[in-house]
């Protein structure tokens, strides 16, 4: 392929270096334009909906514990295998013994919060949790519940009402969602507005079933 990267110039343009002058004019104009820099610690950075930050287990307002039913879907789907769950069966019902997440191995793909049938595990919008050692990044169940409390406190969120539309599995129609996922989402949110998974939804048959 022939790329013509040097346009023809007439003699006057060659002598006067008009292209250089054009470039100089551009930079001079930019000198007086408003910088787009956000002064981070001083200025709040708006966090977009669907931001995947620190992990948390949603605190059940009734029991005070987690909503987790130990279905093991999150631990199975996790590509980096950073979720470790132990449970025992008590009268046919699973009881969670421990729930650990190694945040340093996590790739923040968000699959775990999508597959969770009861919206127990979420990735919050908190991103300021740096530490000086590795230990603080090994979240156990209490740590994850504390993360949820911190999230509710810092973002002024009522735990009963908050639901993030990005917690829904991608591309699934409403009627196929598990019960825990059918929570009321904000009214301004539409399935069409969810960019992720839109290709998959287009490929679905028109009646919304597979």
């Amino acid at each position: 392929m022939f790329v013509k990267y040097k346009p023809k110039r007439n003699l006057l343009e060659t002598i006067l270096h008009t292209e250089i002058l054009q470039g100089m004019a551009l930079t001079l104009r930019r000198l007086f334009s408003r910088p787009i820099t956000r002064q981070y610690p001083d200025e709040e950075i708006p966090v977009a909906l669907g931001f995947r930050g620190q992990h948390a287990l949603v605190r059940d307002p009734e029991t005070g514990g987690s909503l987790c039913v130990a279905c093991m879907r999150c631990a199975t789907v996790c590509p980096s295998r950073c979720i470790h769950i132990r449970y025992h069966e008590d009268d046919g019902k699973r009881v969670v013994d421990s729930y650990d997440i190694e945040a340093l191995r996590c790739v923040y793909c968000g699959y775990c919060e999508e597959v969770c049938p009861v919206n127990a595990l979420v990735l919050t919008e908190i991103f300021e949790y740096a530490a000086y050692s590795r230990q603080p990044f090994h979240f156990d169940r209490d740590g994850l519940l504390a993360n949820w409390d911190r999230f509710c406190r810092e973002r002024n969120i009522s735990p009963q009402e908050y639901v993030n539309p990005f917690w829904r599995p991608r591309g699934l129609p409403e009627n196929r969602l598990p019960a825990g996922k059918r929570l009321q989402v904000p009214e301004d949110w539409t399935m069409e507005g969810q960019v992720v998974g839109s290709r998959y939804r287009e490929a679905l048959p028109n009646d919304g079933t597979r």
Partner: protein, 322 residues
């Protein structure tokens, strides 16, 4: 007594120039930042105003690392050579009528001599570090400085012919106080050649091949650290100021301006230097780096013939008119 006064003058000049160097780095970062729609330094002091002082303290207290395989005495001396050569050329600059440390008759070629000496610092730094990157940077600087020094010297010959002197104060006086007396009008070709050669002599963008960050890490200064690294940068910024001063004196009428500012005889001189420095920074924010063969081609095939033609033209015009 005279020596004492001279010493105080030298100290004052040194302090003022060093302050200018520090804040030239600040304004360079600020201006380039805003030209790239960023903000530049903001954290140290109000709008980052104390940043250069913080940088200075930091580089002063940093460890001075000398590579094991380096040629130690030359490695240690190279930045000092650079800085001293540049500082020495400050002595002959006339800032205002009578405001000059050494009013010597060969001021112009003295500065050319000093700027050619400062290239020794760069070359020796490149060689003594005993590293590939620094060596390549040193070699590039050597070839570049030799080539563009010819163009620069020849471009100033026209000014020497018009003014009939090498004394910088007399060159300013020869241009008179009127706007049209400035040598930039009769010597427009020389001014163009001088501006390009000035950029190349000070190793600035678009001719910053000796320290091309993207290819040579930091060129000749790669192995340097702490205060010695800072010395190279001081030398570069003082070089920019000296070259701006030469441009101001030889082409823009030195300290003369549209009106005299009472109490500040050097006002116009300093203002013109600031304009030059701004253009230096402006060009850095705009232009990409030249390729090495393009650099040599520009120097030898365009600038030197242009400067020679300008000398011939000036000679002919002067013979016909005067």
């Amino acid at each position: 007594m005279h020596v004492l006064v001279l010493l105080i003058q030298i100290l004052v000049l040194f302090a003022v120039v060093m302050l200018h160097v520090a804040y030239a780095t600040y304004f360079e970062r600020k201006i380039i930042g805003h030209m790239q729609v960023r903000m530049g330094p903001m954290r140290v002091g109000w709008h980052g105003l104390l940043q250069p002082i913080a940088d200075g303290i930091k580089s002063f207290f940093k460890e001075d690392v000398v590579p094991e395989q380096a040629d130690r005495p030359i490695f240690l001396a190279a930045p000092v050579i650079c800085l001293v050569a540049m500082l020495t050329s400050l002595a002959v600059l006339p800032f205002a009528p009578g405001w000059v440390l050494a009013d010597i008759n060969i001021g112009l070629i003295f500065i050319l001599a000093m700027s050619s000496l400062s290239s020794y610092g760069v070359i020796l730094a490149g060689w003594a570090s005993n590293s590939k990157y620094t060596f390549l940077g040193g070699l590039r600087s050597m070839a570049q400085v030799i080539s563009y020094e010819i163009a620069m010297g020849l471009s100033l010959v026209g000014v020497m012919m018009l003014s009939g002197t090498l004394n910088l104060s007399e060159i300013v006086q020869a241009q008179g106080t009127s706007f049209t007396g400035m040598y930039v009008f009769p010597q427009i070709i020389a001014f163009f050649v001088f501006c390009v050669a000035m950029l190349a002599e000070t190793n600035r963008v678009p001719f910053d091949l000796p320290e091309a960050e993207t290819e040579l890490v930091s060129g000749y200064a790669t192995e340097y650290s702490g205060m010695r690294y800072a010395m190279f940068f001081m030398a570069e910024y003082i070089g920019m100021m000296v070259m701006s001063a030469i441009g101001t004196i030889c082409f823009l009428g030195g300290w003369n301006g549209p009106f005299t500012v009472p109490g500040v005889p050097f006002f116009w001189f300093v203002l013109k230097i600031y304009v030059f420095l701004f253009v230096f920074i402006w060009i850095r924010a705009t232009l990409p780096r030249y390729r090495y063969d393009q650099l040599m081609e520009l120097g030898w095939k365009l600038l030197i013939p242009l400067a020679l033609a300008n000398i011939a033209l000036t000679g002919i015009v002067k013979a016909v008119i005067g």
